[in-house]
């Protein structure tokens, strides 16, 4: 197994070390922690509490007639978890999967109190940030843009901008296209 599975605790430890170095970002009352990852030279973040684990890419069982960004389902200790390629989801050029391709497994609470687990294929894990609430900005009004719905917030970390993902929206899969009568 080439898994580089990391537990939540590990990530948190990392973040503690990080806080030591970056005094300006030190955690105070109104701050949250985010795990960020890279895609196409952009940095995206998700709430660290929603991250279940990070694992290496392994072939998934293909789901018939699923949208092409759904790579299939994997067995996560007995639970069937769908894996979504975030590049394809956002309409970016897809990349070859290799030994360093990473799957971020997140658990998302939906509005109806349901919880769903999903794996996100990303280019690479970037960092863990602790960010104060005032450093978060609402997404700019780009509603006509196709991917705007996936953006929850923007946040500034030093000079970089990180896009916080709206995970519940990522959970909405388009209905599989029904096959018409076989020819």
């Amino acid at each position: 197994m080439t898994d580089i599975a990391t537990t939540e605790e590990d990530i948190k430890e990392q973040s503690v070390e990080y806080d030591h170095e970056e005094h300006e970002l030190e955690a105070t009352g109104e701050s949250r922690q985010f795990l960020t990852f890279m895609m196409d030279d952009e940095e995206y973040g998700v709430d660290i509490l929603s991250v279940q684990e990070i694992r290496g890419w392994e072939p998934a069982t293909v789901l018939p007639n699923a949208p092409d960004y759904v790579k299939g389902v994997i067995n996560l200790r007995g639970t069937i978890v769908p894996v979504v390629d975030l590049r394809q989801r956002f309409g970016l050029d897809s990349m070859e999967y290799g030994a360093i391709t990473v799957v971020v497994v997140v658990k998302v609470s939906l509005e109806n109190n349901d919880e769903k687990i999903i794996g996100l294929v990303v280019d690479a894990i970037s960092d863990v940030y602790t960010v104060k609430a005032e450093n978060m900005r609402p997404a700019p009004d780009i509603t006509e843009h196709a991917n705007a719905e996936f953006i929850e917030n923007l946040m500034n970390v030093e000079k970089n901008m990180v896009v916080l993902l709206n995970l519940p929206r990522l959970m909405e899969f388009s209905q599989s296209s029904a096959v018409q009568a076989t020819s």
Binding site: V62, L63, P64, P82, T182
Partner: protein, 694 residues
């Protein structure tokens, strides 16, 4: 020292609800004017144990209410009162009321006594009239429970063993004292001579006069625990005590007017009566626990199975200790075969524990049908067939609501009024049949009525009105019938409180689909309708055939596979230019290419090189083209919908031995996916084409 009674609540509620079910069933079996002693006795016993239990646990609302109910039953049982329809109705209502009270108590809410009080008043008014005087005077129980008197004469003569039951008469006397002014006369006539006196036996009795405006129940409550262990009588002061037995003691007791004897004084330190514990229902909150009653033979077989498993395990362990050579390999294989055999048996036994007879659902219908038919002024006969058919408890729980809905619909919309039936040349009494049976790996439940059937014209008109279909849409009869399962559809001329709120059949279908089941309707105008529900027996495990399509592994439920064969290309025809059919013996079987439906590349596309798995669902056969057959194995069904969504043609997923995920094929879904079947239509859409060809 008080006993925490709350730990017994669960059992009490369970038993009480069971008792109520029994009462209800038996009440429905009663016919006014008859005197079926056995049935009445059964009802009486059920009521009595509820009364006893609720008294013990301090649920006085319930016990008081059950008491009046019991009084009426008692009179009927003794033949002092003829059974009337009115009584049955009232008793049924009170069963409902008790159920509500108990549910409220179970949920630790304050029960609403309004209904209970009203019913109690009804009972009392029945009890108040019509009873022959001599009986009324004779048994105190016959009197309305709220009887009050200026005072009571109580005779209390415990049996000698009373102390051994942990009861202390003195406490009772103290409690009585708290109610009002008390005059106690001890009856020492039964005390043996000193040499024969056993210190822990009670030989003292008491004549008690209690003055004041006191309710009878209050007194009875005090003596509730000892009623079986003493001679006890309770009479309003001034009345003659009729019981011969009591009169005897009275005569004997008159001469002695002394304080309570030494014997009872000595016993003062005995532990408090449990009555006190009962009076303070524990406030401990506890979560709703679901329990299941299992027949003992099922548990026994489980234990046997575990025994075998242990033996196999021991055998394998022994094998592992030896030097490894070729002989051992054989033994190892044997051992493993046995182990898998054991595991499978064990699994079956465990599953059986969850299986309950469907009568748990069916049993509520006699009542429902009775109530509704009365309300609608229709005459209905309900037939139950296959009540012992077993199915999974979880399936059963979710099945109940849809079935209630369907039965209500049958009564309300399906069956005609008696006049209309006679005019149509039918028997005045309509019939509704609930039929359950196993078919393959499914349980099938039919709800059949011999009413008017579905009115296609009306359904069509309504569907057009509600914009479900367009005006010029061509629909077959069964397609029209299927429209009733569409959301927002209701054909009732008038909205009644029984059915016809416009939410309904679509919810029914959705509920059943959530259980991986299906529902369909067959209806012949003027002759009636049949709703057929098909459900998997269990939601957890199935026997699967693993098949390969390209480099993907799928699982086909073994139960639906009829045969697997290599295709003789000469027997394949193209029907209507679109669907391939294989002539297999006398049947024509449409071929579905799995790789095509699932859009997989690199699969075998030539029919003669692949394998055809012939499967059947809903009496329709299709052949699935796969690359290869792999192993057969039992698979645990995992939901795809938990984290993803429904996929057409796939019923779920499972995890194979090597940890990979494999998908389970849903045959009915595949047929739909292939466009071979129109919703609600009987048979495949190519059937007519095939018939032409044949």
């Amino acid at each position: 020292m008080s006993i925490d009674l709350s730990q017994f609540f669960e059992v009490f509620f369970e038993e009480s609800f069971e008792g109520l079910d029994i009462m209800e069933a038996e009440l429905l079996a009663l016919t006014p004017g008859t005197h079926d002693l056995e049935t009445i006795n059964t009802i009486f016993r059920a009521a009595h144990s509820i009364k006893g239990g609720s008294g013990t646990f301090g649920f006085t609302v319930v016990s008081n209410f059950t008491h009046v109910l019991e009084t009426l039953l008692d009179q009927i049982r003794d033949g002092r009162r003829a059974l009337e329809q009115q009584h049955i109705d009232l008793l049924l209502l009170s069963v409902d009321c008790l159920r509500d009270l108990l549910s409220a108590l179970k949920a630790e809410e304050v029960p609403d006594e309004a209904v209970a009080n009203k019913l109690k008043a009804d009972f009392e008014s029945i009890l108040a009239d019509g009873v022959c005087g001599e009986y009324a005077a004779n048994e105190s129980e016959d009197k309305p429970s709220s009887t009050q008197s200026s005072g009571w004469a109580i005779k209390f003569f415990p049996f000698p063993y009373l102390f051994k039951t942990g009861n202390e008469p003195l406490y009772m006397l103290h409690e009585l004292e708290a109610l009002g002014k008390l005059t106690i006369t001890a009856d020492l006539s039964h005390i043996p001579e000193f040499s024969k006196l056993v210190p822990d036996e009670c030989h003292v009795g008491w004549d008690i006069e209690l003055h004041g405006n006191i309710e009878k129940e209050q007194i009875e409550e005090i003596f509730e625990w000892v009623l079986d262990d003493c001679d006890f009588s309770l009479n309003p002061i001034g009345e003659v005590t009729p019981s011969a037995e009591v009169e005897d003691t009275k005569e004997e007791s008159e001469p002695s007017i002394e304080p309570p004897a030494q014997v009872s004084e000595e016993k003062k330190e005995t532990k408090p009566t449990p009555t006190q514990a009962a009076k303070a229902p524990s406030a401990v909150k506890k979560g709703e626990t679901n329990s299941i009653r299992v027949a003992i033979d099922k548990v026994d077989s489980l234990i046997n199975m575990v025994g075998e498993l242990v033996i196999t395990q021991a055998m394998l362990c022994q094998l592992a200790e030896r030097e490894f050579d070729e002989n051992n390999v054989n033994m190892l294989q044997e051992g493993l075969a046995q182990l898998s055999h054991n595991t499978r048996d064990l699994q079956e036994s465990v599953m059986r524990i969850r299986m309950l007879p469907i009568s748990f659902v069916f049993s509520r219908f006699p009542r429902l049908v009775r109530d509704i038919s009365q309300k609608l002024n229709k005459k209905v006969e309900l037939k139950l067939i296959g009540e012992q058919t077993e199915l999974d408890k979880t399936v059963m729980e979710k099945l109940s609501d849809p079935m209630v809905h369907l039965v209500r619909n049958s009564l309300d919309h399906g069956l005609e009024s008696p006049e209309a039936r006679v005019a149509a040349g039918k028997d005045e009494t309509g019939s509704v049949t609930l039929n359950a049976f196993h078919q393959g790996g499914n349980i099938v439940i039919e709800i059949i009525d011999d009413g008017a059937g579905l009115n296609s014209e009306k359904i069509r008109a309504k569907a057009i009105e509600n914009h479900i279909i367009s005006e010029n849409e061509e629909l077959s009869e069964s397609e029209v019938h299927d429209l009733i399962f569409r959301p927002g559809f209701s054909t009732a001329d008038e909205v009644s409180d029984i059915s016809g709120r416009g939410v309904g059949m679509d919810v029914v279908r959705r509920n059943i689909q959530e259980l991986n089941g299906s529902i369909e309707v067959n209806s012949v105008a003027g002759e009636g309708s049949t709703f057929r529900i098909r459900l998997p027996l269990t939601l957890a495990i199935l026997d699967g055939q693993l098949v390969r399509v390209a480099d993907h592994t799928y699982i086909i439920p073994l139960i639906s596979i009829i045969e697997s064969l290599q295709v003789d290309i000469e027997k394949v025809n193209n029907v209507g230019g679109s669907v391939e059919v294989l002539r297999l013996r006398d049947e024509y079987i449409p071929i579905l290419r799995l790789y095509q439906l699932f859009k997989h590349e690199n699969a075998i596309t030539e029919l003669e090189h692949g394998l055809l798995v012939v499967v059947e669902t809903d009496n329709e056969k299709v052949g699935l083209l796969v690359d290869d057959l792999l192993a057969q194995q039992q698979v645990v069904i995992k939901s795809l919908e938990n984290n993803y969504q429904r996929i057409e043609g796939i019923s779920g997923a499972t995890i194979l031995g090597d940890g990979r995920v494999s998908l389970i094929v849903d045959i009915a879904g595949l047929i739909k996916l292939a466009g071979l079947k129109k919703p609600g239509k009987q048979g495949l859409s190519i059937d007519s084409l095939i018939q032409e060809m044949a």
